[in-house]
Symmetry: C3
Subunit: 341 residues, 3 copies
């Protein structure tokens, strides 16, 4: 239709869009009260403090449109809600556009890596600053500049692959560093059948500024859940020899829970040859984590979750984290409330 633009401008200013929006609002409110004691690596005095935290509270907007011919367009914009004054406003979570069909879904933007997607429901203390597997086991990355493909599920089997652009350009005057669409890659295969979930995932990271160095990470996960109880195991091995002339850095974890009335008792034990550190130090864009130095890390967590409804959960828990060589130890006692919407 060829209406007057001038009219259109005035109309756009005055009227809400005509029934065009099908955006769905969603999110999660998760706050905890926490007591954290830290015994530093040096022999400094142990500090202990209480606090209140927002645990990856989030809001988002998503929607999809049927394009006909078996295709759908979809979008998803999700943001982290900080609560502390030191980090005002919003942070970023998954944000992407996609195209879905019977042959799978392609997406473009920021997203969890396939390796992270492939943890299934292994992590019993996800999101918690003390307790999440990310403190011990590498591979829990959400990355921008990602192109991903999720296959349809066939006989319970799904494949997911992602290419990630480093977009750092030419940091040392030598063209060819982090300039491609697949500077980093992540691949995962997931199998889900009845009580069994199993996955294998493999990541490669290009360290760019560090000449000829790159990392690879393999992770396997298996979870058994019969509705009453769950047990899971995870193994991750990072090949760091090109970087540090070390052997592989291996990490292991077991987790589980058992239903008790309207809640569940849960536990998790994780161990690694070395503490994960953020490779931002190597000039990488994605928040990949590698391990440096030999310094065994152990993390034990126990807790109880109580379902106040399908969407509202109260929980309490305890985590202890220690590094065997440095002597660092962190103990956290926490209780919180989660509401999904």
């Amino acid at each position: 239709m060829k209406k007057a633009l001038s009219l259109a401008i005035a109309a756009a200013l005055v009227a809400p869009a005509a029934a065009m929006a099908d955006a769905t609002l969603f999110g999660k409110a998760h706050f905890i009260v926490e007591n954290v004691g830290v015994q530093p690596a040096s022999d400094a005095v142990t500090t202990e403090a209480w606090g209140v935290d927002s645990i990856h509270s989030r809001v988002g907007l998503k929607g999809s449109e049927d394009l006909g011919g078996g295709f759908k367009a979809l979008y998803h914009f999700e943001f982290k809600v900080h609560q502390d004054d030191s980090a005002d406003g919003f942070g970023d979570r998954n944000q992407f556009i996609g195209l879905a069909s019977d042959y799978g879904t392609a997406l473009l933007g920021r997203h969890d890596t396939p390796m992270k997607m492939a943890q299934g429901k292994f992590d019993q203390f996800g999101d918690l600053p003390n307790g999440d597997i990310t403190s011990v086991i590498p591979g829990e990355d959400r990355i921008d500049n990602l192109i991903a493909y999720v296959s349809p599920a066939i006989d319970g089997l799904t494949f997911v692959g992602a290419l990630v652009s480093g977009e750092l350009g030419d940091s040392d005057g030598q063209p060819g560093k982090l300039e491609g669409l697949a500077d980093h890659t992540s691949l995962a295969a997931m199998y889900n059948n009845g009580p069994i979930f199993a996955s294998l995932a493999y990541n490669t990271y290009d360290l760019g500024a560090v000449a000829d160095a790159d990392l690879s990470l393999f992770r396997g996960t298996i979870v058994w859940n019969d509705g009453m109880w769950q047990v899971g195991a995870m193994f991750a091995s990072m090949d760091v020899d090109k970087l540090m002339d070390l052997n592989d850095v291996d990490s292991y974890g077991v987790s589980g829970h058992i239903k008790v009335g309207n809640g569940k008792i849960k536990g998790q034990f994780l161990t690694s040859d070395a503490p994960p550190i953020n490779t931002g130090a190597f000039g990488m864009s994605p928040a990949v984590r590698i391990t440096a130095g030999v310094n065994q890390v152990d993390q034990y967590s126990f807790g109880y979750e109580h379902n106040l409804s399908k969407r509202t959960i109260a929980h309490v828990g305890y985590t202890t984290f220690d590094e065997s060589v440095s002597g660092k130890e962190v103990d956290a006692l926490f209780g919180g409330l989660i509401h999904n919407f």
Copy 2:
């Protein structure tokens, strides 16, 4: 239900969440045109400028869920909308999760202190950069890391209490500073019956890094409103002797309005022994305000509000602020438009 996770992943990417969201969007658009003249404390030249400002324009998302047994879960995420290029994106307002029952409401997160909640509708020029009582009277704090309880109203009487964690840890090598759940506290009792609103509130602030120093603040408010006219009075007294070897710093205010047709004429006079300053300088996390030095502050404001609808208000006003010793003076003339949604 034990559906294939692989299916769930694909589905999560493609479909909007199934009728789970009950999030309510709300907010306020408030912009003004303002002329501000500043005569600095020194004998520098007076400056005067026109400008356009967003006055705590905001958007938010909130919702609640009936948990059964008389309990409700609730959440509230509210954000300030900046308009000036110098502060892009969003700022933070109240953001919390809560649990409500007939025995009161508990909440966790960032929120106005009970003292701020207890001002009732005393402030006739709330939010305005020139005019709000926050320029003269201490106690208008919104604080993160807060645990609060709001009692049910019994015979018009409500109690509200909040504990606030400083979360600064151990800033001077001495464990024990700002490490608790109640480093700062705020308590308020409010009485509301017919035309009468009255409140008493008491805050304590732990100054942490300043050895052995803490502040306390008492504030009382009374407002009479018979629908046609309103008068209110406020008194605040801050005990600063541990900190500055001064007497208490006292602040007073009176305010009122009278309905005229579809609008109201309003006025407000505030005075204090000393100008409030932000105690961030003392290393405190909450934006408490204390007074330093003896330098009487006066602020007079007059204005007119016109209701264009129940949700839309046009207003004009004038505020003059001066410090008697330094000679600083600020005069502001403003007109604005408010729309609540």
Copy 3:
């Protein structure tokens, strides 16, 4: 109504707002995959990189209220969604409050200038980091601290005017710089009748800190669109002699597209006497762009858009940009997906 405030507080905490919100959510998801090659102005090595970008993806909230008597209140809060880790959270787009009637619409806040509004649909590569006319032709400004008026359309003719406050105050000790409501101005007349769109626009910029210097910019646009094909031409002339003792800096552009099945083939050629630079260097608040030095700039763009639906568009394109004197050249090949909601 005079309900107990204490009750109101508890209620506000517990219940969602009663059917008050009429906020409409809207937005756009636009992501591209891009290969960009840059031959710098110096004889440094050409760099080339692939990447994934969010192209001014956005979300917003808007609404209006009928005030009676032919008046409407309206608000619009729109935010840019970044995707790259280097710019977390949200950026700002148009954010304003307004009052509309049969006599036109007045608005207050941040908004595109009338000159930017008056480009019609000339730009065939809008938003794209390589391709948008903003790289060559000045006048594409979105400015905070703006007061605007949009006339009703009479016989296809619409007038728009805006006053912009610099709000920089007195940066050099001399009162009188960027202190008014109309430090910068933008005026536009738009004519729209059948296949013809034509506009004239004129901006003035006060450079504030640069004594006695100001800029003016004239821009004319004409677009013919009969539904099957479109051709457009744009001319802009910036008077910079007060600033740089140069002649006017002129910019020209032609653009067009032709429908092919469910899509369109499009092309655009832009040229200017000098590359636009951001005048932030001159201490101006609005992102106006001026031209400095004599260095002809050319930008050619070609592309194809395919409508997957009325709201979803796939596109591919190529842009080449070069500066004739410096020798700088940028070549970009891109493909993307757009979904409006």
